[in-house]
């Protein structure tokens, strides 16, 4: 392993701590002065996003940021930021900032808003911490810090359905974290340390080692929505408020896949998995996830449930990329993290606008929506096309790398699965876009377009009748994110993915 220069800095600890302080301060301020709290929240997330970007010069030179806080919990908390970690942390920070901006007007007039922002910030700190974790123990700590408060976001509406979904989410999260806890302790006991970033920790293939691997796969697969354990996802995401489900689908389920990546490449190591062939477990499960997730999505008529099932499908592709065990596939996989996060959160934000302005959830009533909400539907279309893997957009780049990687790994069959995924995406996204733009709106619909919009801010100048600026701008930024990186030569996310793949493979 080449001697990667390690720079010690406590900035990661600050990045994790800042949102928690923001959450507490926000809650207290919010009791009396709601607008002050909104500004405080957006400001804190913005600062944290800016802080993560300060690592870019060091990371692009290939150095690794390391930091540790010893006083906490049995093993203390350690941070380790390499190119993969940096890419996902900065991605999380940006999307979280956009979602917070988006929820400023989305949550206006809702109940329990103070609690929503506080738990949104705590979950943000958990997510960022998970991507920056330096060892399995800190990963587990932040993983819990992220998934438990998320239950409060899921239960926000406090309807009976929301309570059921949150309970199911909570039980499966606790079950998953116990499995992870068992595997982590087993690794600690077998390998003596749980530090990531080193060579494969576990060397011999004893039955306890397989139990550990199974524990990791179940725990992280459950979070990533792998098929047999995905039941909580289609209930939890539609019930949550749209910005929260955007983050749930966009970022939080990615932590599961990221954890799987670290486990497969750094806890078990490449040669060990290829020798024992345990990665075929992941491959088979991911193919089943792709097929099942995408096909069930077709049958869903509620927009958010369809998007939730589509996330399961996309996560199948990501897990597939990991299992292929070839460098190009890994590059495509890491870039797919980036592409799917951006596209999926954009889709959920569009769904939020549609829900907020027209109150429609059922896809069959979307006829002629394009005239009424032009900007939203354009963003929706761009994000949908990305996920379908249409050439000029990010999706195509990652799908291309993945299929080439599949051929490199000598398992061309899996490339077919990727193709099937793209086609199935088309089958359930295109009808929405088509009805929105090319069908004629029903008479009632036409009247609504002509008349000035009833809802909307009190007297705020609205340059577009659809929704306030704070909702449209994040969508536009994300839609641009899907497109601009694929075309522009300076595609830094792709370069970072290649660097990450090179580091993981050189171990």
């Amino acid at each position: 392993m080449n001697a990667t220069a390690e720079v010690y800095s406590l900035l990661p600890a600050l990045i994790v701590l800042l949102p928690i302080i923001g959450a507490i301060a926000g809650y207290l301020v919010g009791l009396r002065w709601p607008t002050g709290r909104d500004l405080l929240c957006v400001f804190t997330v913005g600062i944290t996003a800016a802080l993560t970007f300060t690592f870019y010069p060091a990371i692009s030179r290939g150095t690794v940021i390391v930091g540790s806080v010893q006083i906490l919990v049995p093993l203390g908390v350690t941070f380790r930021l390499d190119s993969l970690g940096f890419l996902l942390t900065s991605l999380t920070a940006v999307i979280w900032f956009l979602a917070t901006l988006y929820s400023l007007s989305y949550m206006k007039g809702e109940h329990g808003v103070n609690r929503y922002y506080a738990f949104l910030m705590v979950t943000f700190s958990g997510a960022v911490g998970t991507f920056m974790a330096g060892d399995l123990f800190s990963f587990f700590l932040f993983f819990e810090l992220m998934s438990l408060p998320a239950a409060v976001l899921v239960i926000h509406e406090e309807t009976a359905e929301a309570v059921q979904a949150a309970l199911k989410y909570l039980f499966m999260t606790v079950a998953g974290s116990l499995m992870f806890f068992f595997s982590m302790v087993a690794t600690f006991e077998m390998a003596g340390s749980v530090a990531l970033g080193g060579r494969g920790l576990i060397a011999e293939a004893s039955p306890v080692a397989f139990l550990t691997f199974a524990g990791f796969v179940i725990a992280l697969g459950m979070k990533a929505g792998m098929v047999p354990l995905h039941m909580w996802l289609p209930d939890a995401h539609p019930v949550a408020p749209s910005p929260a489900s955007a983050l749930l689908s966009g970022i939080m389920i990615k932590t599961g896949a990221y954890g799987m990546l670290r486990v497969m490449y750094e806890v078990f190591g490449l040669e060990f998995l290829q020798a024992t062939g345990w990665n075929t477990v992941v491959l088979v499960l991911s193919v089943v996830t792709i097929l099942l997730g995408s096909s069930v999505a077709i049958t869903q008529y509620d927009l958010k449930r369809r998007l939730a099932y589509s996330s399961i499908g996309q996560m199948g592709c990501i897990l597939l990329g990991m299992g292929l065990m070839s460098e190009r596939a890994l590059t495509g996989d890491v870039f797919y993290f980036f592409a799917d996060a951006v596209a999926k959160s954009c889709l959920f934000l569009c769904a939020g606008v549609i829900l907020k302005t027209t109150g429609k959830r059922d896809i069959r009533q979307f006829a002629g929506l394009g005239q009424r909400l032009p900007v939203t539907m354009v963003c929706f279309a761009v994000a949908a096309l990305t996920l379908m893997g249409i050439p000029p957009l990010n999706g195509f780049v990652s799908k291309w790398q993945l299929s080439v990687g599949a051929f490199d790994a000598g398992m061309p069959g899996y490339a077919l699965a990727l193709l099937a995924s793209s086609m199935l995406n088309a089958v359930y996204y295109l009808p929405i876009v088509m009805t929105a733009f090319f069908d004629h709106p029903t008479p009632v619909e036409a009247a609504a377009v002509a008349a000035p919009p009833t809802g909307g801010g009190r007297g705020t100048r609205r340059w577009l009748p659809e929704a306030s600026a704070t909702m449209l701008v994040p969508m536009l930024v994300l839609a641009l994110g899907c497109a601009v990186f694929a075309l522009s030569p300076g595609n830094w996310p792709l370069r970072l993915s290649e660097a990450a793949a090179r580091v993981l493979f050189s171990k």
Binding site: I71, L72, V73, P74, F140, L141, E144, L145, L148, I155, E158, A162, V163, A166, L167, L170, F171, V174, A175, L178, M179, F181, F182, V185, A186, F188, E189, V208, L211
Partner: protein
């Protein structure tokens, strides 16, 4: 300053004797009790500092050397337990100033304070005893005081539960005394250290007698600490008692049996491996039965306090299972869990008491939306629930970490699996309570009752704060207990 070792037990005793003498009018009984517990906590803290550095205090009562006189032995293990128990006691006594006084008439109230102090004296006596018969006497004191506290409430189900508990602990006392007499018959010693030296010879001559003695002692202390098949008395006793009483009974009194067995096992029985080989596996089987049985019953309970009582049966199973693995790290986890459970269960019962005190609601079903009405109490309940399930940053997680790591190190992944499974079970019956509390919509419009008075709230939140601190910065405590566990297992 060795006198502290005996003063630890004598202070609560004399406090108990003071109450009928001086605490006759008004709340002077409460003030005597609070003063005594404060003094005991200070004494326990001083002991913890002295023994923390590793050397144990062995104090000869009446200047008679051990085989002839009684020896009191306070090491890091018993000092740490005594300190945490008196801390929880401080919170419970401070809490029960108002809750109890309006429910009991003056005469019963006076004796309530005296019995509470006697219970504390019995517990501290048990944890510092190093003589077999002295252990039996202090076990009797705390059992009788515990029955007294349950029966002080003038309701039919408390009286019946107290009588059932009294008769069962009489049977347990019989078994323990028979066990002690059998051991004395074959060794001629009562002091732990001398017993350890005399036991191998005794095992050689009459192995079956020693085995029978060990079985009887295990049965007796198992019944006192609600080990699985002998736990029938616990749910009735702990749910019908007053809330501060059940907090103390569930959190601390149940642990005395466990401490006695740990100490007996560590210093006396490990000297004769032949007898000892069967006991851990036997304890493990009973512990697993307790965990599953307790969890199943806890899930089906409608009354809040009965559910908490059944959850105690599960946690006792935890501690015995972690003990039966015979690994220093697991034993550290077990000792830590004894303290964590005392803190968490005390807090849970006190917050349940607050809810019952303010709103009279006992059934879990009608606890919907209590969080809006009594947010601070609900926060305490949530911390307690999270601790029980072992979510990171709470002390429950730290003890679960050590227990699982220890059982894996001892090559028993099954034990680790069962511990994790039962913490999932506890999630199944704690989380719906928390979710219903915060997010449920109350059927009847909640009367505008203010939150519980601060004088009853700060002890509950104090316990919560201590649990979180223990969860976030466990290092100093874990190191001290690590040595104590190694020493206990004689490595």
């Amino acid at each position: 300053m060795d006198h502290l070792a005996v003063l630890l037990t004598v202070i609560p005793l004399s406090g108990a004797f003071f109450v009928p003498m001086f605490g006759r009018e008004g709340d002077r009984g409460y003030r005597v009790a609070l003063g005594t517990v404060l003094l005991t906590t200070a004494c326990a803290a001083a002991l913890l500092v002295i023994t923390g550095r590793g050397q144990a205090i062995s104090y000869y009562v009446g200047n008679w050397a051990p085989p002839w006189g009684i020896e009191i032995r306070v090491d890091a293990f018993s000092a740490f337990l005594s300190f945490s128990f008196s801390l929880v006691y401080l919170a419970v006594i401070a809490y029960s100033a108002r809750d109890v006084s309006h429910e009991l008439n003056p005469a019963a109230l006076r004796w309530y304070w005296s019995l509470m102090l006697l219970l504390l004296a019995g517990l501290l006596g048990v944890s510092s005893a190093a003589d077999l018969f002295n252990l039996f006497v202090f076990t009797e004191i705390y059992s009788l005081a515990a029955c007294g506290i349950i029966s002080v409430r003038d309701r039919m189900d408390s009286l019946e539960a107290a009588l059932k508990y009294l008769l069962l602990s009489a049977v347990a006392a019989g078994c323990i005394l028979l066990g002690i007499s059998l051991i004395y018959m074959v060794t001629g010693h009562l002091n732990y250290a001398h017993l350890a030296t005399a036991l191998p010879a005794a095992v050689a001559t009459s192995p079956r007698t020693v085995l029978a003695a060990v079985a009887l002692l295990a049965t007796g202390f198992g019944l006192k600490s609600a080990l699985f098949p002998l736990h029938m008395w616990l749910p009735d006793a702990h749910s019908s008692a007053l809330s501060p009483a059940s907090a103390v009974l569930s959190g601390i009194a149940v642990k005395a049996g466990i401490i006695a067995l740990f100490r007996l096992f560590a210093s006396v029985l490990s000297a004769s491996p032949a007898v000892v080989r069967a006991m851990p596996t036997f304890l493990a089987v009973l512990a697993v039965g307790g965990m599953i049985f307790g969890a199943l019953f806890a899930m089906t309970q409608t009354d809040l306090k009965r559910m908490l009582a059944y959850s105690t049966v599960v946690q006792v199973g935890y501690i015995y299972l972690a003990f039966s693995v015979l690994n220093p790290v697991a034993l550290t986890g077990a000792i830590l869990h004894i303290v964590n459970h005392a803190l968490l269960k005390g807090m849970l019962f006190l917050s349940a008491g607050l809810i019952i005190h303010r709103t009279g609601k006992r059934r879990i079903a009608d606890l919907q939306g209590i969080g809006r009405e009594m947010p601070l109490t609900m926060i305490a309940l949530t911390i307690g629930a999270m601790g029980m399930v072992g979510i990171p940053l709470t002390n429950g997680f730290v003890s679960k970490w050590h227990m699982v790591l220890g059982s894996l190190e001892a090559g028993q992944p099954l034990a680790a699996g069962v511990i994790l499974l039962s913490s999932l079970f506890s999630a199944l019956y704690y989380f719906p309570l928390v979710i219903a509390g915060w997010f449920g919509n109350p059927a009847a419009p909640a009367p505008a009752r203010p939150e519980a008075p601060p004088s009853m709230l700060w002890p509950v939140l104090g316990l919560g704060a201590v649990s979180l601190i223990l969860g976030i910065v466990p290092e100093p405590v874990v190191n001290v207990l690590g040595e104590a566990a190694k020493h206990l297992l004689g490595q």
